[in-house]
């Protein structure tokens, strides 16, 4: 472990610029991630929010360079601690994966190997990266299981994955992810398969681990409730692009993109039995995007430029940007848009 430079260093931990990941289809290449730029500072929790097909998981896999054919990274940079991961050789990249950046998946049962004892799987992560000898691995695995609050870790290390509950399996996944003390953990829907009470425990654990292991966390989720309680900053994805970025408070108090506003407004709340304020239409399929802003067919605020050009990032506040022509200072519509009150969306 090299000590991290102090935060006075302006270099972000992770700086993604113009990342484009395409999937080859019979109808030609389709961009799952489209010209995506994103920065993460050390120690931060960034929530990447989006629905299925929005490209959030493809973004995670691109950072790890785990995109499988017919997908491929077509361009851009992924700078991690100053190095562009897309330019590393496969061997160097293997030293990054799991050791400096690790990934936690939604369904731990598929990520864990069913025929190996969990202690061996944790040990393997340590030995592969030269963080422990075979002799030492068992002891370190027990320590890690204890740190993710698994009761009686001495006997648990001999368990197979199927002997554990979903929540316990996710704790084992977290232990494996933390084994080599990475500085960035990417958690892709880590609690989606879990019950609400277990979800809360895993989110608490991730928060604790973040402090204890001095981590940065890229949390991929579709659940705005989780975002509100966990993230420092939020990036909202739609159809392969980040349509809005800002602090968690800005995102919930003054969402700037009509999609973000729509998501927040559509959540259950208000008077019981009242119709919800749904967003019309469906998520477009990658490869079948409308011209202009991909959200325009569903957007209540659509006006002329939206159907012809893709909106660039516009400032919506300090550290807060959105890809929406409503925010264009040149736009005649802008003053009206700026004065619009964010919709209220209390949980009750």
């Amino acid at each position: 472990m090299h000590p991290e430079p102090l935060n006075s260093n302006p270099e972000p931990l992770l700086a993604i610029a113009h990342l484009t990941t395409v999937f080859e289809t019979t109808r030609g290449p389709v961009a799952a991630v489209d010209d995506l730029s994103l920065e993460m500072r050390a120690g931060e929790t960034l929530a990447l929010v989006g629905e299925s097909g929005s490209g959030k998981s493809a973004t995670a896999l691109s950072i790890m360079r785990l995109v499988q054919p017919p997908g491929r990274i077509a361009g851009g940079e992924v700078r991690f601690k100053g190095r562009d991961l897309l330019r590393l050789g496969e061997r160097e990249m293997r030293a990054v994966r799991g050791a400096e950046i690790s990934l936690i998946f939604q369904e731990p049962m598929t990520a864990l190997n069913p025929v190996f004892r969990i202690g061996d799987q944790i040990g393997e992560a340590l030995v592969v990266h030269g963080r422990a000898t075979r002799a030492d691995a068992r002891h370190r695995a027990i320590e890690l299981l204890r740190s993710v609050r698994i009761p009686s870790p001495e006997s648990r290390i001999a368990d197979y994955p199927h002997q554990l509950s979903g929540g316990m399996r996710q704790r084992v996944m977290i232990a494996i992810a933390l084994a080599c003390r990475p500085s960035l953990v990417i958690a892709d829907e880590p609690t989606t398969a879990l019950d609400v009470t277990i979800q809360a425990e895993i989110l608490d654990l991730l928060r604790e681990m973040k402090a204890e292991f001095d981590l940065s966390l890229l949390l991929i989720t579709h659940d705005l409730g989780i975002v509100a309680g966990t993230a420092d900053r939020v990036a909202v994805m739609y159809a392969g692009r980040i349509v809005e970025t800002g602090s968690v408070r800005a995102m919930f108090r003054s969402p700037a993109h009509p999609y973000t506003r729509g998501l927040l407004a559509s959540m259950p709340g208000g008077r019981r039995g009242e119709r919800l304020r749904a967003i019309d239409g469906a998520v477009p399929l990658p490869g079948d995007l409308p011209a202009g802003c991909a959200f325009n067919p569903r957007c209540p605020d659509r006006f002329e430029p939206c159907t012809s050009a893709q909106p660039p990032d516009y400032a919506a506040g300090p550290g807060h940007t959105a890809k929406c022509f409503l925010l264009d200072p040149q736009s005649a519509i802008n003053p009206e848009a700026a004065s619009r009150k964010p919709q209220s969306h209390g949980p009750r």
Binding site: E51, S52, G166, D195, V196, T197, I198, Q199, A200, E201, L203, D204, H222, D223, L224, G225, I226, V227, A228, G229, V248, R249, F252, Y259, G262, L263, L264, S266, M267, P268, G269, G270, R272, G273, E274, R275, L276, R277, A278, I279, D280, A282, V283, R298, H345, G346, P347, R348
Partner: protein
């Protein structure tokens, strides 16, 4: 008036063991009783494995209960003959969670919606076609898409097809088993609105099985909380959410992620040892029962 009455429902499954080894019995549903009034949306919540889906399936006899009784309009569903059960099924329908796996991929949308009418020998071909078109419009689908296959529809549209099929026989009671949890967030609200609209329009009674407690709070008039096969708390949604009494309910409600970064978070952790498994439901407020 109660449309459906469930009393002392029990369902045992054999755990492990296999056919000849006589494995242990596990009570998936353990002495569950509740009633659902005409026109009501009754919520059933609990963790996976708590028995909520099994309860719903037993009520329609999609799973045969071990013991107990289910009465529909006062008649015992469990005592029904095959012929009588078949007629009863016209009134009691179910919509499943996953619109991707619950529709036959080799059937056209029209055939999927029409099938119950064919099985129950209702109407001639022309009448059935007319009814399918009507159902399509009812659930907000375009009848021009009747001849498409399931994969040509989005998730939200597929769930509408599932709903059209469930409504084909004009049921009065529908079990909704996690009807929106497989859908994209931006589409969930549309389907929730549709469910509420259909309920008003067709005077439907719903059993709403869900893990999304925010949604349950929004659409259910009453709710029952299941824990390890038993109902541990039941009552009007407003009362139960405002003052949960059972340790599990308290833990469950405190774990709901609140979509507000400034909301205070005080999670209550359940100590399973603190749950008195022999406690019976008693009335703690008007219509609000808890096993404490």
């Amino acid at each position: 008036m109660a449309l459906v009455e469930v009393s002392h429902l029990v369902k045992h499954f054999a755990r492990g063991g296999g056919l000849f080894r006589g494995g242990a019995q596990v009570a998936a549903v353990d002495d569950v009783s509740f009633t659902i009034d005409q026109g009501e949306t009754f919520g059933l919540v609990g963790e996976s494995g708590s028995g909520k889906t099994t309860t719903g399936r037993c009520m329609l006899r999609l799973t045969e209960p071990t013991s107990g009784d289910v009465r529909f309009r006062g008649e015992s569903v469990l005592a029904f003959s095959r012929a009588r059960l078949r007629r009863a099924r016209r009134e009691m329908q179910i919509v499943f969670q996953d619109p991707y796996s619950s529709l036959n991929p080799r059937m056209r949308a029209r055939q999927i919606v029409e099938e119950p009418l064919v099985i129950h020998r209702l109407g001639d071909r022309a009448a059935r076609r007319g009814r399918v078109g009507e159902l399509f419009r009812l659930v907000g689908l375009d009848p021009a898409h009747l001849e498409r296959y399931p994969h040509e529809f989005s998730g939200g549209q597929r769930q509408r097809i599932g709903l059209a099929r469930a409504l084909a026989l004009d049921p009065s009671f529908v079990v909704l088993d996690e009807p929106v949890s497989a859908l994209d967030v931006s589409v969930q609200a549309q389907v929730v609105n549709l469910l509420m609209d259909l309920q008003r329009q067709l005077k439907l009674t719903y059993l709403f099985i869900a893990h999304d407690l925010r949604l349950v709070e929004h659409i259910c008039g009453r709710v029952a909380v299941m824990y390890l096969g038993k109902i541990v708390e039941m009552g009007p949604t407003a009362s139960l959410f405002a003052s949960p009494q059972h340790a599990y309910t308290k833990a469950l409600l405190s774990a709901i992620p609140i979509p507000d970064p400034d909301a205070p978070r005080q999670r209550i952790v359940l100590d399973p040892a603190s749950v008195d498994k022999s406690a019976v439901l008693k009335e703690v407020a008007k219509g609000h029962w808890a096993a404490v």
